[in-house]
Point group: C2
Chain length 186, copies 2
């Protein structure tokens, strides 16, 4: 789609986020977004179902997790698989985007509907991991707990990474969070 | 409110759940609910913001958690506090209601909007526990992990309790889940 509109998706995202910051999420309309991006609303709806999805459409964490788990050798221990998967996602999809993700977090936190949508992201990840673990022969409760642990490690680590002033990579913060979780449960 | 309508809330809940089961959540209207309960829509809206809240309005888990945490002596270890709080909630609010809660779970799982609302219940509980732990002087990451652990233990345990055929009390399943979570993280 759209070879005559190079980077249309990126231009729409940039315009939308600028407007959400300037005037708030609720007050921003799709025509305002497309006007700023110099594109048509028809193009907008080719990429996004609505303005909310601009903030979530690019999120492929659950799909990436599913792929990684499906491809992993059967003898890798489940928690090790989750931790190495999260560290790979951290390095490939998060590192270098901290300022951008801080801005997106502030927008999401400004709106109840966005916060609710954000929770769905979490439950989808939890559910994908759970199903993949059941497919690997893990018992039902353990599979559910692995899904929970994966979501906990990712979301608590990202929050900490966004809050911190230092330069500790997210992939390392995932290990810190795992260590803290073990202390909490000991 | 409504001393001339004894048990109005309970009658509305019973009627609503019967109708959700018989004809689906989406197809059921508030006037149908009130007709079956023999009450007015005015009464309905005194108790519930909308038909969705019939399934969630009675849920006070987060408020109960907050109260329990605020009242606990300062020297009780955080995880022990969470586990004893969950076991108390299990005994007082869940035990004896398994059939009713199974029906409610099926209704929630039948509808995307209800599932999303159900997730919010989770995030509210997580957030209440996190804030209470920060107030008790626990560091930020540990407080977040305690909130996550509380939600994990409750929701995985309830799911297991609703799935099982046996009579193991939910309060004991909470301990089983904690033991399994320790194994997952070891």
């Amino acid at each position: 789609m759209g070879r005559w509109e190079p980077d249309a998706r990126q231009r729409l995202e940039t315009a939308a986020i600028e407007l959400f910051v300037e005037q708030g999420f609720a007050a921003t309309t799709v025509p305002e977004i497309t006007a700023r991006a110099g594109l048509t609303t028809r193009t907008f709806f080719r990429y996004f179902a609505d303005k909310r999805e601009v903030l979530f459409g690019g999120d492929q964490a659950a799909a990436a997790a599913q792929r990684m788990l499906a491809e992993a050798p059967a003898d890798v221990e489940p928690l090790a698989l989750i931790v190495s998967g999260l560290r790979a996602v951290a390095a490939e999809r998060f590192e270098g985007r901290r300022d951008d993700l801080r801005i997106r977090r502030d927008i999401v936190n400004s709106d109840d509907g966005l916060r609710e949508r954000d929770q769905r992201k979490r439950s989808v990840l939890r559910e994908e991991v759970r199903k993949a673990m059941v497919a690997r022969g893990v018992d039902k409760v353990t599979a559910a707990l692995l899904g929970e642990t994966c979501a906990t490690l990712l979301f608590v680590s990202v929050e900490e990474w966004l809050d911190q002033d230092g330069d500790r990579p997210l992939a390392d913060i995932v290990l810190d969070t795992l260590a803290s979780l073990r202390v909490v449960l000991s």
